[in-house]
Symmetry: C2
Subunit: 155 residues, 2 copies
DNA sequence: AATAAATAGATGTTTATACATTAAATGTAT
DNA sequence: ATACATTTAATGTATAAACATCTATTTATT
């Protein structure tokens, strides 16, 4: 059964291919988000918390400041301070005072954090592999288009 | 200045073009969402409330049930009942009792609701026109890819 | 050095979201 | 017709998001 955005939001006509794409992008992104949530909720974390954990793991135990985490987040408006709080309570991350700048706070992932990510890896990979219905070239092209879309901001 | 997802989330390498695309899609969608929010907050509505209003306008004064609104929403998990509540308080929509099914509630957009949408139209169009940096054909292809992405659910 | 400005992060507060439950009306089965 | 299940919408509740404000520290200015 072929399900297009038309049937999904029960809209027969779109003003232009651009409107169709815009709505499809928002709709699909919401859909992807809920798919991700389904994965995470069994492990009692949110997508945002997961994003922080991934950034921390990428550091390979090199401490990273809260502000730097924010810079790497997919959602730039998220309150990283509170997200780290949540991870702290669950023993998934640790705060360390920053010697050279006492305003800053260094964050590191814990063993438990790494273990959780490892458990989640196969599911997230599966989530990501949805995209492999596209050819690698199309994926690159697609990605470049998204980059271009955001460019309209810095002219 | 060229800004790619790499610089935006300060990640140099991606596991595959698919991971790059997946993160880019989430990131860009968040970004688009905030751009939309900027438009709406001056008029004291949310993106979700706007979505409901658009659906109501599409009905051209033909009443529509709350459950049907939900089916047409871009975010399927939204609590339409509460969204309609908000619109009601602001006099942007009206509730009407449904004669043939007394469980259901019919909703219609008001004059004020239509006026608000008209004021927002140029801004939303501008938001949508970001996508016209792509060719119409690419937009169609892109949209078809998104449809295909969600297909993996119903096999 | 003293004052002002900027930065980092935490916190307060209001609103929205996620998820479950409830209540009423309708549909279905025996 | 009665009992049970389903649908429709509203509500309860805990958590998270959006946005502003505050405090401590560092940097810049005069």
């Amino acid at each position: 059964m072929i399900m297009s955005i038309e049937t999904d939001i029960k809209q027969k006509k779109f003003r232009s291919p651009y409107q169709r794409l815009a709505l499809n992008l928002v709709y699909t992104s919401n859909w992807l988000g809920y798919k991700q949530l389904e994965i995470f909720k069994d492990y009692d974390i949110t997508s945002q918390q997961y994003n922080v954990l991934r950034i921390l793991r990428g550091q390979k135990s090199v401490p990273i400041k809260v502000s730097e985490i924010t810079e790497r987040m997919l959602d730039k408006n998220s309150n990283t301070s509170r997200l780290v709080d949540k991870l702290l309570v669950k023993n998934l991350a640790e705060r360390k005072s920053c010697p050279n700048d006492r305003r800053a706070v260094d964050v590191v992932i814990t063993k438990e954090g790494l273990d959780l990510l490892e458990k989640l890896d196969p599911f997230v990979e599966e989530w990501e592999n949805r995209f492999s219905i596209i050819s690698p070239d199309d994926a690159e092209r697609f990605s470049a288009l998204l980059d271009k879309l955001r460019e309209s901001d810095n002219q």
